[in-house]
Symmetry: C2
Subunit: 160 residues, 2 copies
C-alpha cells in the first residue's frame, strides 16, 4: 500500500534507549560502531545524546547535522538519567529479551562486510549474544552494548 498524502514526508527518525553510563555507551556507539554524536540536549537531571551515521558522505556540516537531525532517519537517542553510572543500587536496564520486560528486541547495524565487521568487534573485545558461527544463521550476529542491549550485525548487498 503506498503511503497516503496525509503521511507524506514522514520519517522513522530515531529509537531511544536508556543507558547507565554515557561514557561507556558513547565509546561503544562512536569508536566501536562508528556513529557520530551529532547533538546533545541537557535536562535538569538527564542528558540526551543523538548519534547517527553520516550518510551525506561528508557534505553536511556539524551544524547542519544537529539542526536538521529531526528530518532524517537512522538516529539513535541515548537517555542518561544522571547518577545511574555511580549508583551501586542501580540494577541496570532490561534488554527487552527476557522476562520480566520482554518486548523490545534489538537495534541493527548493517555493514558492507559482516565477516570483517564481526572479526573487528571480536578483536575489540565486544561481547556477543550470538557470534556468526553460533546457531543456524551464519550471516547474522548479535553483539551486546554496554547495557546488554542486543545489536544485530548484518551485511548488505551493494545496490548497483
Amino acid at each position: 500500500m503506498p503511503a497516503s498524502s496525509e503521511t507524506a514526508g514522514y520519517r522513522f527518525n530515531h529509537t531511544m534507549i536508556r543507558v547507565k553510563d554515557p561514557k561507556a555507551s558513547l565509546k561503544f556507539y562512536s569508536e566501536v560502531l562508528g556513529m557520530e554524536l551529532i547533538d546533545t540536549m541537557n535536562g535538569s537531571d538527564f542528558t540526551l545524546y543523538f548519534l547517527a551515521y553520516d550518510t551525506s558522505n561528508g557534505v553536511d556540516t556539524a551544524e547542519d547535522k544537529a539542526k536538521y537531525r529531526s528530518g532524517r532517519e537512522g538516529l539513535l537517542e541515548l537517555t542518561h538519567n544522571h547518577g545511574t553510572e555511580s549508583d551501586a543500587s542501580f540494577k541496570g536496564y532490561a534488554s527487552g529479551n527476557a522476562e520480566p520486560g520482554r518486548g523490545f528486541g534489538h537495534t541493527c547495524i548493517s555493514t558492507p562486510d559482516v565477516e570483517v565487521a564481526c572479526a573487528r568487534l571480536e578483536r575489540l573485545g565486544v561481547p556477543f549474544q550470538k557470534k556468526l558461527t553460533d546457531g543456524r544463521m551464519k550471516n547474522i550476529a548479535f553483539a551486546l552494548d554496554p547495557d546488554g542491549y542486543w545489536v544485530e550485525i548484518i551485511g548488505y548487498p551493494t545496490k548497483p
Copy 2:
C-alpha cells in the same frame, strides 16, 4: 569524531519490537503512520514484518525495496510469535517505560507538521501517552501503538 575507515558504509538499519497481533500493528504502522510493508520473513513459529518509509520518492520498485532493505536506514521490524494474538493467558509485551522491564524508551516518527499529524492521529482514535498540549513540551507528543509502545511524534524543519 569522524567515522573511521573501518566503519565506512555502516548503517543504523532497523529496530525490532515484538508485537502481539500483527493485524493491529500493521494497520497502525501502515494505515495510520504511513509506513510500507516492504518485506516479510516466515519462520516455523514466527513471522517478521519489515516496514519503512519510501524515501526514494517512488523511484524504488517493490522488488528493490525488499532486496536492498539491509542497506538503508529507518526500518522497523515487527516480530510476531505465532499464537500470542489469540492466547488469553498472554500478558502482552513491556513498553520499556515502567518497571519491571525499563530500558527501551520509544521509536520516533518525524513529520512535516506536528500539529497536523497529531490532529489526524486524534481523529483516528489513536491513544496518546502525552498529547501536544500535555506537560511543558508543546512540540512533542507520544502516541501509543497497539502493544503500548511509545511512538514519539515530532515535526522537522525543512532543509533549504
